[in-house]
Symmetry: D2
Subunit: 292 residues, 4 copies
């Protein structure tokens, strides 16, 4: 990209390195997904295939970019936390943003047929993205709490709304009116008394979103190799809080240390959880997430 007398135009590219010592969180959001979900017959209020596809695209990102230590997804959005001291691409904002967004998008389209075998993609969807800096662990925790509380609020509302419409035969206008001003307890009560639905019994994926972490795997002899293209259809079968990765997950494992002796392997693999990340337990068990 040099050589000619025109190459001076390259000097107009200005540096955009992000402040060192801060946590970067990158959030990806579906663009125009209201229309996209309608045109592709997503189930309401949650389409498990669509959520699993989002999880799979996020996992592709974490498989490629090891400095991402945590991700959280709900609906048509996903947030990624980089380790605080990452020097990836010299912390150049545009480089990081564009590469990760592009891989996420690409993976979403690439893996579509696995999650929607009977629904062909009608047109290419797109996402937007941003990177926000947070100076301390407190704001990082509050960021993820913000997203998970949002998941809860939206999902409870949507569950009640679509129960009224789909099972209760209400119009959407009437369903909105019925829910207007209700508090959480009233929505729980409505679901239970009118539709026999115990809200806490619906899948944790819907209620809590998806949490991607890297966990260590002790014995990785069964591992099929590193460049394995994730078969997300099986990898995401983990139930909430599952303490151990199953073998399909281990298959996506990546060695992070080779210390001479073949038998000692520290293997980390990306796991999908659907658990509470607002309370302390999650973070206390993973101090490395917020370490310097």
């Amino acid at each position: 990209m040099a050589g000619s007398k025109y190459a001076y135009v390259k000097n107009y590219e200005l540096p955009d390195n992000l402040l060192p010592g801060t946590f970067m969180i990158m959030r990806i959001d579906g663009h125009g997904f209201h229309r996209f979900s309608t045109e592709h017959s997503f189930a309401k209020p949650n389409d498990e295939r669509a959520l699993r596809l989002m999880d799979c695209a996020a996992q592709s990102v974490m498989d490629e970019y090891k400095d991402i230590v945590l991700a959280f997804g709900e609906s048509d959005e996903y947030s990624f936390l980089f380790r605080k001291d990452t020097k990836l691409y010299n912390r150049r904002q545009t480089k990081l943003l564009s590469l990760i967004l592009s891989l996420f998008t690409s993976s979403y389209i690439f893996h579509w047929p696995k999650f929607f075998p009977d629904e062909s993609l009608n047109y290419p969807p797109s996402f937007d993205a941003r990177i926000v800096l947070y100076p301390s662990a407190k704001e990082v925790r509050d960021y993820f709490a913000w997203r998970q509380v949002d998941t809860h609020i939206n999902n409870l509302y949507n569950t009640a709304f679509w129960a009224l419409v789909q099972q209760g035969g209400e119009s959407t206008t009437r369903a909105h009116a019925l829910l207007k001003g209700t508090v959480s307890a009233q929505k729980h009560e409505l679901l239970f008394s009118r539709f026999g639905i115990n809200y806490n019994g619906i899948p944790a994926r819907f209620r809590k979103g998806s949490v991607l972490v890297r966990d260590e795997v002790k014995d990785a002899r069964e591992s099929g190799g590193h460049d394995f293209v994730p078969d997300a259809g099986t990898r995401t079968d983990l139930s909430e809080g599952s303490p151990l990765p199953d073998s399909s997950l281990a298959a996506g494992a990546t060695p992070v240390a080779h210390q001479g002796k073949k038998k000692v392997k520290a293997i980390k693999t990306v796991r999908i959880l659907h658990e509470d990340i607002v309370r302390n337990e999650f973070w206390d068990a993973r101090p490395e997430l917020l370490d310097g």
Copy 2:
């Protein structure tokens, strides 16, 4: 995205509006395309399928974002020029960059099977992107000259290199050595005398890259409508400098004015050219590209 006590974290998002009154050029580059092209058996020195797929992805972007007035592509990169006074997304850098990059990526994967019917995609490719500001028409012209001169230099080299390897039976090491230090005229001469290749006879797409412009179509009665999903396989059949769009191109046309009377339609459509954009002729014929 508000409501909970955690919503304060949104305040850490800082504005990133780009300077008004400047030209924005966004360039998208393939990431790791050396490996990608090898794993997908791209022809050397140019794979027409791959180039047409890039053109198609770029056209998807221009179909969606009307404030892009010009695009230029070569190899695994594409550059987009916005009209100077665009207020799209309030000129927010990250919003523009992410949406357009994501749509380009998405379109690339989505349209892959049309251009590579016999070559399945092995893994999801990704691209990076940047937006650079240019204050005046001069720098914009020089930017595009920079890219097209680069196309020429690279393509002449690659054409000579692969002729030596594929037809001349030279090793890649020896081919590099033979070309080292040669000037343009020597490469032309080598191609002609040793391989009978008239460099100026090879397709303009390879020598000049692809130029996407919006041209007016007088009569658009055949137009099939606006939300047409581009059939890029046929739309890109235009030869260099073709003065009129063929009917398949017109099918992607978009009305830009409806002035009451049905019969008066100003229709613009994206056309693909492979012509010189270094000299004045191209720009003189399209003064609107560099207007305020």
Copy 3:
């Protein structure tokens, strides 16, 4: 500034170079000058001493920073135009802003006694500053028109207001009420019919502000040298449109070209004008101001 194990903190300083090829305009504004002018008994509506002091501080800046080609001042503000292609301090925003603001401030205090020989400075005043980028000549001209039109509007209002109060014996409340909603012609008429004041006869400095330009001086034999500390009291005696610098101004002259022959000297000196910079004449006579 290096050496110890703590020097890593320097890495948190991020680059802030301004876009090449754009015009930088830096504006300095008095901070809390309402109080400052009261505490230092500034004459109303204009204090010539205070305006001349501002001019003098601006001239100090232009004497030091040769890449500033034009300045415009009114009231407690001054704007500086850099030549478009300046590479001063590598166009680092904070460096330019801080050095020029600091010198302006310093000069203001330093030269105070010359302009206010009978009024001691009660406390140190301060200024704020900003640098704004403009991509083309048009916006630069409009910027300076904006400031000079503002000068006119404010000064006409203030002249009428203080005539009503000082000569007409009106209260300030009543003076405001009388002027509310009046257009320009009405204020002219009021000044003339009630107070016999021909607005166009008041000093151009008040009506048009101060314009600092660099003009060539043909014969600079009288020049006293370059590091002359400006005697702003005499240097600012120029009347509006004065075609030639007087000798005190020439004393601050700086040679900008030495072409071998000693006798041919191109000398440029900073001159103070009080003329129209909205219309074309000013700019047509000085094409170098807006050149690349």
Copy 4:
């Protein structure tokens, strides 16, 4: 600043708010102070008048901007720490930088005659400035350690150097050569054995720089009021580590709380210390400096 058709140029001013939740440190540095100190006959290696003037200018800044909680000065530079959560001027970088730098500069010139009664100012000096963000308390401590260690290294070197020149009769070239490659202990030894100077006996102001903090004053009855223009000549008489402000310092005190009852007053005043800020003691005694 609005009204005319030219006012659109104001839209080119872009926001520059600094990231919330981070510590801002602003450093001011003398520009061309080598020449300035020579032309104003500063004593070598330290000029106490010049240092006290710097302290005085810094104190003016802290008197005016209450969100600055700590300052550290040495030689011709001063650093200011804002409290982490300051919302001053909405954290707009240019506004903060320019106002504080301008007041510092202005105060330096304004107070000059008090510290240099026998040395008139020959020309207006200037300073540059920058604001750097630090995400956590650790980096803030390391920043100040960086500056104070720098003070020590420079002062020890300069003390030895000027002893060799002034008392030892060495040329400056020879003095540099003698010190080249020596470690700290060797310089101490040289000073003691050759010149009888116990380095630790020279004034703490020279060895440790100046530290400005806000300390509470229990009884402020003697306080002369708030808008007191600092009499820096007396206010800076504090010796190192002095545990209590003297009455001249208290005179600059500012009430920070009025809780109804007149007798309960929490008064804070700026104090000047010359003590170690590398070790924990200083910070442990003032936890509020690094609080959120």
